[in-house]
Amino acid sequence: MALPQRKTDIGPPNYEQFLPPIIKKNYGKWKYHEELNGGTMVHVAESGDKLWTVRVASPRILSTDTIREISDIADKYCDGYLRFTSRNNIEFLVSNEKSLEPLQKELKQKGYTIGGIGNRVSNIVHTQGWVHCHGAATDASGLVKAIMDELFEYFTTKKLPNKVRLAVACCVNMCGAVHCSDIALVALHTKVPPIDHDRAGKICEIPTVIASCPTRAISPDPARKSVKINEEKCMYCGNCFTVCPAIEIHNPESDGIAIMVGGKVGSLRSNPKFSKLAIPFFYNEPPRWPKVVAAVKNILETYAKHARKHERVGEWIERIGWEKFFKLTGIEFTFVEKVLICSPDCHSCESRNPELIEFTRTGFPLKACGNDTYGYFRVFQQAVEIAPTY
């Protein structure tokens, strides 16, 4: 069968055609909303119209069959309209109150999980992991499933001092919003990748490999028609593997996960914050990563017990201080070797070593520089052994 004629540069369909009539009518004229239970809220418009939203958990990876099933439900109760949230939940939009209970009933019957609204744990924003990503140091979907099984009641019913946003990134490139989440998990490679020189010479473009390294740790190795890696500069990001599969970044023995805490994006009460390193390393333990899951739950429940109402995790920690945070959570505070990557506006190195000025533009891990405003923590080879005994 002949294919239809392709069109280019048309952009997405206009959103207006996907808005339910009640939204079109009350667009920009909403007055307030109320949370009815952990997964249901009602928005009331100036006109008096009411719109109920039922939020349902999603594993983000959805099969077309499930999307069709969701569509059938939306046809039955929501006149064929639905939406998704920025945290990958599904939202059923109900304009007729009579449809609300039957919808909730059918969702429950079919095994859907209603929740994620208000001061609770919402769905975890995450990356592709072993399902699809070439550089992943863990599986994101598996980790998310294991954590959310454990935190399930914090999604559906149990209340927390404020909302808690979790994120999982499967490597330091952090395709998810891990750097500003209440509790963030980031997977790490922890060793300088070995190079298969025979293959590298044959299948990789040497200049491209050199250019791929953000810390300029890679240089040519003309004798072997390959490249070499300066171990002092490598921060195991895996960008070289992306362009050259002969540089093997994966290492099942030493790839693992770090936990960072206290980030947020909203500007309410205090400025947005970055997540900060709490636990530098866990070994990968698929399929359920029990130690990571227990650590996340411990941080969440310690926060729930001690924080004041409306305090986010980061605000609570800043009020009580990091010392108290480590004490209350029982997390062992350990040494981590930090990769110092100099900040472009720092220049404190220039007086010591003028030759370095050129390098500062692309970020040069500079051990001589004492400025610690920027940079990575680096789980040093030995540190794997002294990681917390969680």
Binding site: D9, S86, K145, G266, D345, R361
Partner: protein, 401 residues
């Protein structure tokens, strides 16, 4: 299609109450070799604790430089179904609203050409179609684009803009996030599909400072709604919150970052002149408080994830700009911002990094925005200043000092 692989480890992830991605993969595996072998390879990853994917650079549709992410299995003999496992990014509609008709159409095409697996949605906001072969890409593009769906961005290009639910279903939206996102996506079609930038460039739009789309942390250009007028107070509703058990002094007054609220048990007062519009009180007492007066957006730039010199949060460039159709001023500003970045960045430098390198002055002078205290966290802490002659002529001789 019959079951091809035993997956004892993944089966563990079908247990427990949270919806399981493994169940989704198994559903798709009943119809698709790609999904079936994807499941088999994933089980192997769980067993051996490592991934088996290779990055593929040169897959795409004719004329475009993005929208398809090339992926190949490094074990194609063992898992032939995923020898190719490319993803296709479909530009989502603003606010992720759909009709079931549209979703079914998307599914029908995808079942024909791909794995039947999707991400609703990917990190940037696109509707992600997960897993197809190189030879299907042109057909996929023809099928979707002829029905009004275009590809999203990838590579060194404008990435698919995204936004919060905005005025469609939120009383706090100060700007029409959906329309802004749609308009800007259309404005930058060329930049989105044909990668000519030094690196990626992301735009996210949030209706207020609650920032449900993480614009301030995940976008090179963050557009966040704000207002200029007073916060209107409905004292009856304030009393209703108190009656329902809200400790207004502890939960609202004491948590106000600028301490501009007072409450004597009867009347709530706000000193609007000192309000920083953080949204805490409004978000907690949505029935009692609402912003009034002129609405618009704050424009911030610079946020990014940590690769390479560290993560950045966006900071204010323009404290207030009108954001109403046809958005002429907003569009012109964004074009200027991108132009400056494109001129000054080395490959793989995000705009936040380039401003740090080149300085705010170079950036602001180019885009024609005057310096403003809202743009800084605090002024410099030393008096080591390079004085330029022109600054004496232009500023100090004519200034107040």
């Amino acid at each position: 299609m019959k079951k091809k692989y035993e997956t004892p480890l993944l089966d563990e992830l079908e247990k427990g109450p949270w919806p399981s991605f493994v169940t989704e993969m198994k559903k798709a595996a009943q119809k698709s070799d790609i999904a079936n072998d994807g499941l088999g390879q994933l089980e192997k990853s769980f067993r051996t604790k490592r991934g088996y994917w290779k990055h593929g650079g040169i897959v795409g549709v004719l004329g475009y430089g993005g929208g398809v992410i090339g992926r190949y299995s490094s074990l194609p003999e063992e898992f032939p179904g995923v020898a190719h496992n490319h993803t296709v990014r479909i530009n989502q509609p603003s606010g992720w609203f759909y009709t079931t008709k549209a979703l079914r159409e998307i599914c029908d095409i995808w079942d024909k050409y791909g794995s039947g697996l999707t991400n609703l949605h990917g990190s940037t906001g696109d509707l992600v179609l997960l897993g197809t072969r190189t030879e299907n890409l042109e057909a996929i593009f023809a099928e979707y684009s002829s029905r009004g769906w275009d590809l999203g961005g990838s590579g060194s290009a404008m990435r698919t803009p995204s936004c919060c639910v905005g005025p469609a279903r939120c009383e706090w939206a100060n700007i029409d996030t959906l329309d802004i996102t749609y308009t800007l996506t259309q404005e930058f079609q060329d930049e989105l599909h044909r990668p000519a930038f030094p690196y990626k460039f992301k735009i996210k739009t949030a209706g207020c400072a609650v920032d449900c789309v993480a614009a301030i942390a995940r976008a090179d250009l963050s557009i966040i709604g704000t207002w200029k007028g007073k916060i209107q107070i409905d004292q009856n509703e304030v009393q209703n919150y108190a009656k329902k058990g809200m400790n207004i002094n502890a939960e609202i007054v004491n948590m106000c970052p600028t301490q501009c609220i007072s409450y004597d048990g009867k009347t709530l007062k706000i000193d609007d002149a000192e309000c920083s519009r953080c949204m805490h009180c409004i978000a907690k007492m949505t029935k009692a408080l609402r912003p009034t007066g002129e609405k618009g957006a704050t424009i911030l730039v610079g946020s990014k994830a940590p690769i390479v010199v560290g993560s950045l949060l966006s900071w204010v460039i323009v404290p207030f700009i009108k954001a109403e159709p046809p958005y002429t001023e907003l569009k012109a500003l964004i074009h200027k911002i991108i132009e400056w970045w494109d001129e000054n960045a080395k490959p793989r430098e995000r705009i936040g990094e380039v401003i740090e390198i080149k300085g705010m002055r170079s950036f602001l002078e180019y885009i024609g925005v005057p310096p403003h205290p809202a743009q800084i966290k605090f002024p410099r802490k030393d008096p080591f200043i390079f004085f330029k002659d022109e600054d004496f002529e232009k500023v100090y001789k004519k200034g107040k000092y």
